[in-house]
């Protein structure tokens, strides 16, 4: 494996992480949109706030990670990507701004009317943002981003693969988040809500799977290079994604939320990795290889060192955060008196099982 390949893999680690963690985050917003009226949706919305409240900022740093790795390691490809896909990037950017800000605003709304306004903005931007990001992925995958940049400002990202990418992105986010929320409800003791959410996740998963199957056809005629890569190297990963997805649906039916969630994560990660493997060694499909796009060697080495630093600083921190939010205190509503008193006595952070 060459130095440029190593850096490309590290960049792709970010893509996979963002697809999973950012995906679950966006998907929660989609469920917020589908939660129903004030009365019917209140419990779900409260759980969504609790589930993603502590983690959403960290989840979105993965996007910054991807962008920074891209422009540092592959500056020409980054420039081509940004100049060609100006519109969807900008719209995704607006979505991210609106989503994060209104999510925080809703948490501290004084009235139901304000909470509704911010909630609608948060939820709809949660839908729009992954859609445009998926369209961007589709543009790259179908070879519509020219190496020299400034591809057509509209048609580059509105081909069949882009529509498919956008749709699949939203669906996978929704499916992922459904399994996450079902598991979170169960941990918080809301078994009835967990069952409701699990059922919805099952429906979302089935739709996602069906669209993913249809995707195969679209790729065959619209993204031939990627399709041929998927027939060969990527086939195992696609099979793995399908198997994990089916496993997840099977566990959802059985009410085993935590396992269903593992299945969903593996399914999403495998299909994203499959995409990467399928288009290797191209960075911009049909246009620019990883090696051609690579920047200065000293900088690539620097990036690997930075990655090493991150894995001993940011990664343990992230793991602690994820461990914490899986504790009962962090899943339930405001801490109970007993929990607070235990915290104040400073005895132990670990709750009894």
């Amino acid at each position: 494996m060459s130095l440029t390949d190593v850096v490309a893999v590290l960049l792709f680690v970010g893509v996979v992480a963002y697809a999973v963690f950012g995906g679950a985050d966006f998907g929660s917003g989609v469920w917020d949109l589908l939660a129903g009226g004030d009365e019917a949706g209140g419990t779900l919305r409260a759980q969504i706030d609790r589930s993603i409240g502590p983690v959403w900022e960290a989840n979105h740093v993965w996007l910054i990670y991807i962008l920074v790795f891209m422009w540092t390691a592959f500056p020409t490809a980054f420039s081509a990507l940004m100049s060609t896909l100006f519109v969807p990037w900008l719209l995704a950017g607006f979505g991210i701004v609106l989503r994060g800000a209104t999510f925080a605003f809703r948490k501290f709304s004084a009235t139901l009317g304000e909470a509704r306004l911010y909630g609608v903005l948060f939820a709809s931007s949660s839908l729009i943002t992954p859609f445009f990001l998926g369209m961007i992925a589709g543009a790259v995958a179908s070879g519509r981003v020219p190496a020299e940049g400034y591809g057509d400002v509209w048609t580059s990202w509105t081909g069949p693969t882009s529509w498919l990418g956008g749709t699949l992105a939203v669906l996978t986010c929704t499916f992922l988040a459904g399994t996450f929320l079902a598991a979170d409800f169960a941990r918080a003791g809301h078994d009835d809500m967990a069952a409701t959410m699990g059922h919805r996740a099952l429906v979302a998963g089935a739709i996602t799977g069906a669209v993913a199957l249809a995707a195969v056809l679209v790729l065959e005629f619209d993204a031939e290079s990627l399709a041929s890569g998927l027939h060969g190297r990527g086939a195992a990963l696609i099979a793995m994604s399908a198997a994990a997805g089916l496993f997840s649906l099977w566990r959802l039916r059985a009410g085993r939320w935590a396992r269903a969630r593992v299945g969903a994560v593996v399914a999403v990660a495998a299909i994203v990795i499959g995409w990467g493997v399928g288009q290797y060694p191209d960075l911009l499909v049909d246009e620019m290889t990883i090696a051609d796009a690579a920047g200065a060697r000293s900088t690539l080495i620097g990036l690997i060192i930075v990655f090493g630093l991150a894995s001993v600083t940011a990664v343990p921190a992230l793991m602690w955060l994820f461990w914490l939010v899986h504790q009962t205190e962090w899943s339930s509503e405001e801490p109970t008196a007993e929990q607070a008193s235990r915290a104040i006595r400073g005895g132990e952070a670990r709750p009894p099982a």
């Binding site: 900022e57 909470a115 200065a296």
Partner: protein, 476 residues
């Protein structure tokens, strides 16, 4: 005149970047400096059993949740804009300046993680552990500032590469040395200047909020504490800032002479150059303004024998808009000294009497809050507009870096609308939080997810199996 109104794409791109950065810079100040202030108050609450301090820290952490969220998203869009608006710079120099950005990514990760833990850790983590989760936030704020200023200072004093033009005439950076790019000549003074500014701005702004309450008669312990802690941070920052700013300015004669010429409104290169207070450059001549002979040379070159570079040294197309740079620079300096005067009069008054009884002093503190914003934006305009027409000083012009895409004014308009709405909404939310805290003793602000008085969401669905005797009194 109409040429300007027609907004050519470059101007639109510059305005969009200016607006995005000008908005984000305020929030990033809070992101960097506010955790330290929360730490002091929170720690006081724990170690001295000061309930009011603990409550204040709880409230501040909720305020921080709002400010940090807006800061995080407005920072994310900046990384989009680097590529969307300035692809020419990123294509040529992405690998030269990428490493500090990547390091900043680590800082952002750590910050985001521990902010999540701190905000949700109240009553969930053991108090000492909870307090300590602020330390990585403070450290990553420091390190993140370093990284971002490494990039910005590099744009002012580029180093760590060799410039070539390839066959197609495109600029290429070769022999890239990322460490040399990070540790460019302008790094340390610019980094320290901005880092201190974060404490200055956050301190004066936070204190101003409590000063308003004090003027309105709320002189309780919480208000005094809420004023004094940020104000103390800001005072120290305000006192050291002119020294650091001076050191940063001294570098300009060698690093960026055209910026210095514009700041000083110097037309001709001359020794014993005057320091011009005010004044406008019209048709190559300085009109108005008070000239103090020799002071310009003395301040910027440490000797009246040394020359301050004048604008005439540079071709017309290489000159920054001198009036904007000069006035923003002097506005920053004037605001800085005004803030020092206000800060010192507070501490002076405090030696003899209760400064919170003095309405004019508290009003002055409110003014200091506004001045800190003015100084921040003016200083930033000085350094950014002063670098024009270069995006990378002496190496690449903004018109070489800007996107060839058209319709940038549409995205500018969208940004104006979104940021205005976001700013107004953030202000409304913060004010409503403050109002609700004034009206009741409860710190928690439950979210109205449903109609009033539904099935209580707060009813704990998971009956606690571990303790038969919940001790509710500890919560009160």
């Amino acid at each position: 005149m109409f040429g300007l109104l027609a907004l050519d794409e470059l101007i639109a791109a510059r305005y969009q970047m200016a607006l995005s950065l000008g908005f984000h810079i305020v929030l990033s100040c809070f992101g960097v400096a506010f955790p330290s202030m929360i730490y002091v108050v929170h720690r006081r609450g724990l170690t001295r059993g000061d309930e009011a301090a603990l409550t204040l820290a709880r409230k501040w952490s909720k305020v921080a949740a709002v400010l940090f969220a807006v800061g995080a998203v407005s920072g994310t869009i900046l990384s989009f804009e680097m590529g969307l608006l300035w692809p020419g710079m990123m294509e040529t120099f992405g690998d030269v300046i990428g490493i500090p950005f990547a390091l900043e990514g680590i800082a952002f990760f750590v910050e985001a993680v521990f902010i999540g833990i701190y905000l949700f850790g109240w009553d969930r983590l053991p108090p000492k552990v909870h307090l300590r989760t602020l330390i990585p936030i403070i450290a990553s704020g420091l390190f993140g500032t370093f990284c971002i200023l490494a990039v910005n200072s590099w744009m002012n004093a580029p180093s760590g590469f060799r410039l070539t033009r390839d066959a197609s005439g495109t600029l290429r950076a070769t022999d890239v040395d990322p460490l040399a790019a990070i540790f460019n000549g302008a790094l340390w003074p610019q980094f320290v200047h901005m880092f201190v500014a974060t404490y200055l701005v956050t301190g004066f702004l936070a204190a101003a909020v409590y000063a308003v309450g004090i003027v309105r008669g709320r002189r309780d312990h919480a208000h005094r504490l809420g004023f004094v802690v940020p104000f103390a941070f800001a005072t120290v920052a305000a006192l050291v800032q002119p020294v650091i700013g001076h050191v940063a300015g001294m570098r300009l004669a060698t690093d960026q002479p055209s910026k210095l010429a514009a700041m000083e409104l110097a037309v001709e290169t001359e020794t014993n150059a005057p320091f011009i207070i005010g004044g406008v450059l019209i048709d190559g001549e300085v009109r108005g303004g008070i000239e103090i002979p020799g002071l310009g040379s003395l301040l910027t070159r440490a000797s009246t024998d040394r020359a301050v570079p004048g604008l005439e040294e540079f071709p017309v197309e290489d000159r920054p808009p001198a009036n904007v740079v000069h006035w923003s620079f002097q506005t920053m300096v004037a605001s800085g000294f005004a803030m020092i005067a206000i800060a010192l009069s507070f501490w002076w008054k405090r030696r003899r009497s209760d400064p919170f009884e003095s309405v004019w002093l508290m009003r002055a503190a409110v003014v200091a809050g506004g001045l800190s914003l003015v100084a921040l934006e003016a200083g930033w305009i000085t350094t950014e507009v002063g670098r024009q027409p270069w995006i990378v000083y002496g190496v690449m012009r903004v018109d070489e870096a800007v996107t060839d895409n058209s319709g940038i004014w549409i995205s500018l308009a969208a940004i104006v609308v979104i940021y205005t709405a976001m700013g107004v909404a953030a202000a409304k939310v913060l004010r409503s939080m403050a109002r609700r805290w004034r009206e009741s003793d409860v710190v928690d602000l439950p979210t109205p997810y449903g109609p009033p008085a539904p099935k209580p969401l707060g009813a704990n669905p998971a009956p606690d199996r571990t303790s038969p005797n919940p001790t509710s009194e500890v919560l009160s």
